[in-house]
């Protein structure tokens, strides 16, 4: 609670007085606004990925052949120029770098923000922000856990399957087995709710951070952000629910 106030506290500052690094990328990274811009750009890459991924998952409703062929296509595309899985690995590396930069920037900025108010308020009312915005940090942590679990689960078959159940490139078969396990189903649902919230604030936030928000288009951008979040959410939960309900088998 309110203790002794405001002796000059340590801050999470990265900048030395005088000049920023000459390299433009390092200069950007050395300022908090620059880190925020990095978060917006990497977040944008992840949003695009999530949209494409969601559309891919809808192929579940077109049957086993279609979605399994799609999984093979992702590996065979741009062959022979890039080799088997070549393009897939390029995309994986871009996504991994994006996720890491996104999380590191978030952690560093969060630390700086906490240090900026050593003595808190007794009474503080938030009058403008949303639940989505307040939950960005915790939601992000959950999504990070989800991403690790998800890759161990569907890409590697290392968790969530009994020995011999997981079959490489048999996406339809794997999904049917996976979502009959109640706790896996529940974890995916909770994670998708977190994703929906993260996108609801995140997409608008990205557009604003990059300077596209104006007084006039604000409502449109916020509505667009919510629309994408909800569509992605419904798209992702549809296949697991269909499996659980027995519509897909």
């Amino acid at each position: 609670m309110n203790s002794l106030a405001t002796a000059p506290a340590k801050t999470g500052r990265a900048i030395k007085p005088g000049r920023l690094p000459g390299n433009p990328a390092l200069a950007l990274w050395s300022t908090p606004i620059g880190k925020k811009v990095v978060m917006a750009v990497t977040g944008g890459i992840l949003v695009l990925f999530v949209i494409v991924h969601m559309i891919g998952n809808l192929k579940m409703f077109a049957g086993a052949e279609t979605i399994d062929a799609y999984a093979r296509f992702l590996r065979e595309v741009a062959q022979p120029e890039l080799g088997y899985s070549g393009l897939l690995w390029i995309v994986r590396i871009i996504l991994l770098v994006s996720v890491v930069l996104h999380i590191v920037a978030a952690a560093q900025l969060n630390r700086m923000n906490r240090l900026a108010r050593p003595v808190g308020y007794e009474v503080k009312k938030n009058i403008a922000t949303s639940y989505a915005a307040v939950l960005m940090g915790w939601g992000g942590v959950l999504l990070a856990i989800f991403i690790v679990f998800h890759i161990l689960h569907f890409t590697l078959g290392a968790v969530g399957f009994k020995p011999g159940q997981y079959e490489d490139l048999q996406v339809y078969h794997n999904m049917i087995i996976a979502f009959h396990v109640w706790w896996i189903f529940a974890f995916y649902m909770v994670s998708m709710v977190a994703l929906c919230f993260h996108l609801d604030h995140g997409i608008w936030s990205m557009l604003h951070t990059l300077g596209w928000n104006t007084r006039k288009n604000r409502r449109t951008l916020r509505a667009l952000s919510r629309l994408i979040a909800v569509v992605v959410f419904l798209g992702f939960i549809s296949a697991p629910i269909a499996v659980m309900a027995g519509w897909l088998h």
């Binding site: 203790s3 000049r19 240090l115 009312k125 604000r218």
Partner: protein
């Protein structure tokens, strides 16, 4: 009307503070919030107690001196209004009000509800100037400014530096203030020579003062007595990337008054 007040009392930054409860009576609806506190202070003085310290100067919403949180909302919650302009008719008879000073690492407490906002002055010092030729004053309107740009620069220039944006922000961020100060000059022809230098220096100064970063909660805009729009924040981010693209790297480092000056004789 009669009100119950719970006010943060702290003699200075190095002693512990606490909330004290007071009752004020016979407040009329047309009094301003600060006039209501004047009534309380008169009463405290007459009883030989120490009056509540709060910053104020113009009392007409233009100087930016006043400000504290009323029930958790900076400047009390009437849109586009400073506490000095907030009339008591905004409240009801019998209301309980908690008054707290701005809380931020960068705004050290002076006493009770008054905090030191010199950090803002140093941000302005780092880049809030233009180069102007000496000699006779030029004729008015010799430099033409498109209407939209003039309006936008004026919107930014309306910032009175009260600090409510920092106080309301969950991250104690000074982005709205700094964005306003950057743009009131960056938008205009007169501000162009130092544009990149200004953006970089003011942004670095803001961070060196220990303010937090922006997570787009929009709390600042909601309490700003001058309705400074958050779009300036997004545009300031652009001004930074522009400055870095142009190779700008040097920034002004403003020393704090608090740093003891070397005595020379």
């Amino acid at each position: 009307m009669n009100l119950k007040l719970k006010i943060w009392r702290q003699a200075n930054a190095s002693v512990r503070g606490k909330f004290e409860n007071y009752v004020v009576r016979d407040i009329t609806p047309d009094m301003s919030f600060l006039e209501m506190l004047d009534v309380l202070n008169e009463d405290l003085l007459s009883r030989g107690e120490i009056p509540v310290a709060f910053d104020h100067d113009c009392r007409e919403g233009i100087c930016g001196s006043c400000g504290f949180l009323i029930n958790g909302v900076a400047h009390g919650g009437q849109k586009g209004t400073t506490v000095c302009q907030l009339a008591m008719r905004f409240f009801k008879d019998g209301d309980s009000l908690t008054l707290e000073p701005w809380r931020a690492q960068s705004f050290p407490l002076v006493r009770d509800l008054a905090v030191n906002r010199s950090a803002f002055d140093r941000i302005i010092q780092s880049g809030g100037y233009i180069s102007a030729p000496t000699g006779g004053a030029p004729d008015a309107n010799t430099i033409l400014v498109p209407k939209e740009i003039a309006d936008s620069a004026f919107d930014a220039a309306a910032c009175i530096g009260c600090g409510a944006c920092v106080a309301a922000c969950p991250n104690s961020s000074a982005m709205l203030f700094t964005a306003a100060k950057v743009h009131q000059l960056n938008l205009l022809p007169q501000g162009q020579p130092q544009r990149d230098q200004r953006s970089l220096s003011m942004i670095v100064a803001m961070e060196e003062e220990g303010f937090g970063g922006c997570t787009n909660h929009r709390e600042c805009e909601a309490v700003c007595p001058k309705d400074i729009p958050i779009q300036f924040i997004g545009q300031m981010n652009r001004e930074l990337t522009r400055a870095l693209r142009h190779g700008e790297r040097k920034f002004a480092h403003v020393t704090r008054d608090a740093e003891p000056a070397e005595v020379k004789r």
